[in-house]
């Protein structure tokens, strides 16, 4: 997945108001057999079985197919998903994070994330932002009432702001991961730089 440095993202949002939206929903198992790393392949499969019926026709009343929310993400547009609580539960498949990243989304905001999926998002340079249930509800209401409403996610200051109401919350991210996101650095490079410490551990 393409790595983009994180700074401040201000964008319209896609509201996906589904609690316990599990990774089987985010990407159905039949897309897992691929050995590709093509972002488009996974982006096209994102929420596939909610977006399309068995014949492949768009399901018109699903939020991602509505005229207000169907535009593909680009700078300032639909770069943020507001998701239901316990987002990404179930299977550990990183394909779910690839699907979100491949679709072009850079931030998922929810009141809670499943642990494995949260790590997967971070490893795919999609930022999971945890907000209070009340703020999550406010964001849903704002974005559903006005699809043009923007949310600002300020990574350096760790704040998320509803631009329509001016309400803001801070979010948690550890200093190490924040540095990685802001500088587009992978965990694997950090680990490879620490081979000495690993061998030292093994010989203890």
């Amino acid at each position: 997945m393409a790595k983009q440095k994180f700074d401040i993202i201000q964008s319209t949002c896609i509201p996906i108001q589904i609690d316990n939206c599990n990774t089987d929903l985010i990407i159905p198992a039949r897309y897992l057999a691929s050995t590709t790393r093509d972002p488009k392949f996974f982006g096209d499969a994102f929420m596939h079985d909610l977006r399309f019926d068995a014949e492949g026709n768009a399901v018109s009343d699903f939020v991602m197919n509505k005229a207000e929310y169907c535009e593909e993400p680009k700078k300032g547009v639909h770069e943020i998903i507001i998701g239901g609580q316990n987002w990404g539960s179930g299977s550990s498949r990183e394909h779910a994070a690839w699907a979100i990243a491949g679709y072009g989304v850079r931030v998922v905001i929810s009141s809670s994330f499943a642990d494995i999926h949260r790590n997967n998002l971070l490893n795919c340079f999609v930022l999971p932002v945890i907000v209070s249930k009340e703020f999550q509800q406010e964001l849903f209401e704002t974005v559903l009432a006005n699809p043009q409403a923007e949310v600002k996610v300020d990574v350096p200051n760790q704040t998320v702001t509803n631009m329509a109401t001016g309400h803001s919350e801070t979010f948690e991210i550890n200093g190490y991961k924040k540095y990685c996101l802001m500088n587009a650095l992978d965990d694997i490079d950090f680990l490879l730089e620490n081979k000495g410490k690993i061998e030292e551990y093994e010989h203890k």
């Binding site: 057999a33 609580q85 299977s91 809670s112 490893n123 620490n194 093994e202």
Partner: protein, 486 residues
């Protein structure tokens, strides 16, 4: 594995962000975690040493690509074990008809050859579902840290290990460094006390806990299962319980090793032998939560409150005792009603409906949850001398070739055959729709697997989760059946 350090956090730092260093005893989880800390990253995660990485075909191809991109080798190939299981067909294993699935299985074999990793190929006697094969070959041992790109890796925690599901990027990290960066989870102890009622199994215990805790009740925690019910469970039962930890949101479900664990592991293929075994057991006996260990959360349930269970919705926490009705709408919290109704709409059930007696189309015994020898013994004990209902398609799929051999050695295959069932070949099978064992749209399946998600067993398929006893009773009558009443 390093010597077990009976102390607090290795760097003496406050425990999990608490205000003061804890003076109390150490939990099983902390003992194992602390013994595997390579370093604590400043204002960041722990770099944790991994004893065992398991690889399957679905979540590893892109990880090996990452190694190729960076032109690096696998750091400790002898600590990695690979086997295909998700795409494996259960009717024959000469070939995989689906070209995409076939390529994925072939890719795993090629990657293992290229990087020098032990590979249990499809159709060979070593193959099976990773979470069945690992413990039964004693590749998973007490005190280990174990990871795999699969959320049901929590299964291996039943031997007294920290075992967690990870993503593909993390698989690449472990291949490259035998370590992983993880924030330390909080700890939760779940005690189950007393004797389980007739017809009630470890699967019912897990389904009961999920219904109580919800599917996110243990998110952010590593769970330890304790109490007399767990102590009296067989190893197979414990593996089922730990397997389902992720369905409560917990990545890891540990059970302190004891004589049951040692007796199960002793003499198995990769278990230490002779003097090494005795030495290992001495170390493993130190793996328990100190009596004064404090957990971030602790809950206790009574075994006598648990009955054979079924699920009615599209998450594993949406369950009831088999003789109960689906909750009425007014019993559901107002903000959860919309989701409750949409689950029931998918399942084609009504609020307040009793599911006992509902016709089923498919019965599935197997998966990493219930694909072990004890599960087949339980199933056979119900169907012995009876006949499978004509309206039911039954898939009986052992979790490994070793389990399949044991089924044959014990004559269970004959009992199944006489009752009109066919024993299939080891595979993940109908647990997830990645091989030919798919439940058709709209059909109702009663299944020993772990997830009843929308489309999990096939697009449009409807799934009721249950124990092997309930699935067996339902396969005989053709309707959802309480095994105590058969």
């Amino acid at each position: 594995m390093k010597e077990i350090v009976i102390s607090n956090t290795p760097d003496g730092s406050p425990h999990r962000g608490g205000d003061a260093q804890r003076a109390e005893g150490v939990s099983l989880f902390d003992k194992i975690w602390n013994a595997h800390v390579v370093q604590q990253v400043e204002d960041g995660p722990t770099q944790l040493y991994i004893d065992r990485l398991y690889c399957h075909e679905v979540t590893t191809p892109q990880a090996f690509d990452t190694l190729r991109d960076k032109n690096i080798r696998v750091f400790r190939p002898e600590q990695v074990v690979a086997m295909p299981d998700h795409n494996t067909p259960s009717d024959q294993q000469e070939r995989i008809d689906d070209p995409i699935g076939r390529k994925q299985v072939e890719t795993l074999a090629k990657n293992c050859a290229e990087f020098g990793i032990r590979h249990f190929a499809m159709g060979t006697k070593d193959n099976g579902i990773i979470h069945v094969v690992g413990p039964e070959k004693a590749l998973s041992l007490p005190g280990m840290t174990i990871v795999c790109g699969d959320s049901h890796t929590s299964t291996h925690g039943a031997v007294g290990a920290i075992a967690m599901g990870i993503g593909t990027s993390e698989v690449a990290q472990v291949l490259a460094s035998q370590t992983i960066l993880q924030s330390k989870p909080k700890t939760m102890r779940i005690n189950i006390e007393g004797t389980l009622p007739e017809g009630t199994t470890a699967k019912d215990v897990a389904l009961y806990i999920m219904a109580k805790l919800t599917t996110s009740g243990a998110t952010g925690y590593a769970v330890e299962y304790a109490g007399s019910t767990v102590r009296n469970m067989s190893m197979e039962g414990r593996l089922t319980l730990s397997n389902l930890s992720i369905e409560m949101g917990s990545r890891a479900g540990l059970i302190a090793p004891d004589e049951t664990t040692f007796a199960y592991l002793k003499g198995r293929e990769y278990a230490p032998k002779g003097e090494a075994w005795d030495k290992a057991v001495e170390e493993w006996k130190k793996l328990y939560s100190d009596p004064d260990a404090v957990f971030d959360k602790e809950v206790t349930y009574r075994a006598e409150d648990i009955a054979p269970r079924i699920t009615y919705g599209t998450n594993p926490g949406a369950g009831i005792a088999i003789d109960e009705c689906i909750p009425a709408l007014e019993d559901i919290a107002e903000d959860e009603r919309q989701q409750f109704l949409s689950m029931l709409e998918y399942m084609q059930f009504e609020p307040g409906q009793k599911l006992e007696g509902t016709p089923v189309d498919y019965c599935f015994l197997g998966a990493c949850t219930n694909g072990r020898i004890e599960d087949f013994r339980a199933f056979a004990s119900v169907v012995k001398g009876k006949k499978k209902a004509d309206n039911v398609v039954a898939w009986l799929v052992p979790g490994s070739w070793l389990v399949r051999q044991q089924i044959i050695d014990e004559g269970i295959d004959k009992i199944l055959e006489e009752a009109g069932f066919e024993l299939r070949l080891p595979s993940c099978s109908s647990c997830l729709a990645m091989n030919p064992d798919k439940v058709p749209a709209g059909k109702l399946s009663i299944s020993t697997s772990n997830r009843n998600f929308v489309g999990r067993q096939g697009p449009g398929a409807r799934t009721i989760l249950a124990s092997p006893l309930v699935v067996a009773a339902s396969a005989i009558t053709g309707v959802v059946t309480d095994p105590r009443k058969l």
